[in-house]
């Protein structure tokens, strides 16, 4: 009987094993994770959980639900190596043989070398449930917070913190991007933060630590903070694969279906998938979910038949930011609608030959849906101006 091993039990790995069963796969399935506890998803960690919500709300399912569908779940079991030709995953105590292997080990907080000593001194990162509980406990109205990194993660942390009354400084870049959004698409970001009381600094910063506090020199500004969070990016959790597979800084290289080698597949943040770099969902939960369904379909012999439009979302200060489709580097950005202050907040992304390939909106569900229906069509300038 066929044995599928899935390494990594977050949203990619869990969606994959559930989809395998729903598609009728009846072989053995083993699901491993390095962490302990029930599988969980990450989006609530920087939203509801930081706002004081229950960390258990991030759980994807409990262990009995995996048992009920005949999945052997082994938490606290890191994979440490892989023998592709011999079809074996190496564990701390012995090997695990597989017929099909799905790599879903995702990513970890990236901390560039000059900053690693900050982490050693108690600076926070936010990737795991444990990280979120620790950060939520450290936030309070009497302790100032500094967030290094103004991207999606740093922005969501700053947003949650100010809404809890925490004095918050965001150390961002002058032309800060938000996930796939850059240029005109990201322009609403820093004004939004400032309008909600976040102190945004975009000058080069120097951070030092002493007497339990962080000192931050940002251009002419001299600041102190009690809590520092480093949110400067993610690196693929692929080190354990480096001797066996083609691994780059963005993960394991695979084809457009997620295939890495015969019998080996990759999904989610660890997958450096051909052709997906400009999808708005690149390295998001939305992509992990779709890729997991696609790979499960390939293994179970039941490929996905519906079209899936890449999707991105973030929640900042009660404003939902959404994007769909692709944003190629040389695309043109057309504003479709403006907010009350006259600033553009709904956009179409148009490629060389005038086709709408992407859509984005800040705080406008209606505008977003309208922009999304334009995907794949030629931009109608008159309709766009309306």
């Amino acid at each position: 009987m066929s044995h599928v091993v899935v390494v990594g039990a977050s949203v990619g790995g869990v969606t994959c094993v559930q989809s395998l069963r729903e598609l009728g796969f009846d072989g053995d399935i083993t699901l491993l994770d390095a962490e302990y506890g029930p599988p969980y998803q990450r989006p609530p960690l920087s939203k509801e959980v930081l706002l004081g919500g229950d960390a258990d709300d991030a759980d994807l399912l409990d262990e009995s639900a995996l048992e009920a569908i005949g999945v052997e779940f082994r938490p606290g079991t890191p994979a440490i190596g892989l023998d592709v030709a011999g079809r074996r995953v190496r564990l701390a105590h012995g090997d695990l043989r597989f017929d099909e292997l799905v790599l879903a080990t995702g990513g970890a907080a990236a901390v560039p070398a000059p900053l690693t000593n900050l982490i050693g001194r108690g600076a926070h990162v936010l990737r795991t449930r444990t990280d979120a509980i620790a950060l939520a406990a450290a936030l309070g109205p009497d302790s100032g917070l500094a967030v290094l990194g103004g991207g999606v993660l740093g922005s969501e942390i700053a947003s949650a913190a100010v809404s809890r009354g925490v004095p918050t400084t965001l150390l961002a870049r002058p032309a800060q991007t938000l996930g796939p959004l850059r240029g005109a698409l990201a322009r609403p970001l820093l004004p939004l933060h400032r309008s909600r009381g976040v102190d945004v600094q975009t000058d080069r910063t120097r951070i030092s630590h002493g007497a339990g506090r962080w000192r931050i020199d940002a251009g002419a500004a001299r600041l102190v903070a009690d809590v520092l969070v480093v949110a400067v990016g993610v690196r693929a959790a692929a080190r354990w694969l480096a001797r066996s597979l083609p691994v780059g800084p963005d993960g394991v290289r695979c084809d457009w279906r997620g295939r890495v080698a015969p019998g080996v597949w990759a999904v989610g943040d660890i997958a450096d998938r051909a052709g997906s770099r400009h999808d708005v969902s690149y390295n998001t939960q939305a992509a992990a979910v779709v890729q997991a369904r696609e790979v499960a379909g390939a293994i179970a012999g039941d490929p996905l038949r519906v079209p899936v439009v890449p999707y991105f979302w973030s929640d900042l200060h009660g404003v939902r930011v959404q994007a769909a489709g692709r944003i190629p580097p040389d695309a043109r950005i057309e504003p479709l609608d403006r907010d009350d202050t006259g600033a553009p907040h709904v956009f179409a992304v148009v490629d060389d030959d005038g086709t709408v390939v992407g859509a984005a909106a800040w705080g406008s569900a209606r505008g977003f849906r309208r922009a999304r229906t334009m995907l794949g069509t030629a931009l109608d300038q008159e309709a766009a101006a309306r």
């Binding site: 519906v306 899936v308 569900a365």
Partner: protein, 62 residues
Amino acid sequence: MVEVVVDSAACVGAGQCALTAPQVFDQDDDGIVVLLAGVVTDVSAVRQAAQLCPARAITVIG
């Protein structure tokens, strides 16, 4: 026949469900999922919609 439950608080308005199973899911003005039929017979489209929801807001029971 299966039962479908949506968690509208978790829904992020991606609209993938309405694209995958338009007989069962629609979106309101805010983009939040609206269930058109709680008990459904076209099980495969609904299961696929549940699998593809990026917020994992859809549960299929049975």
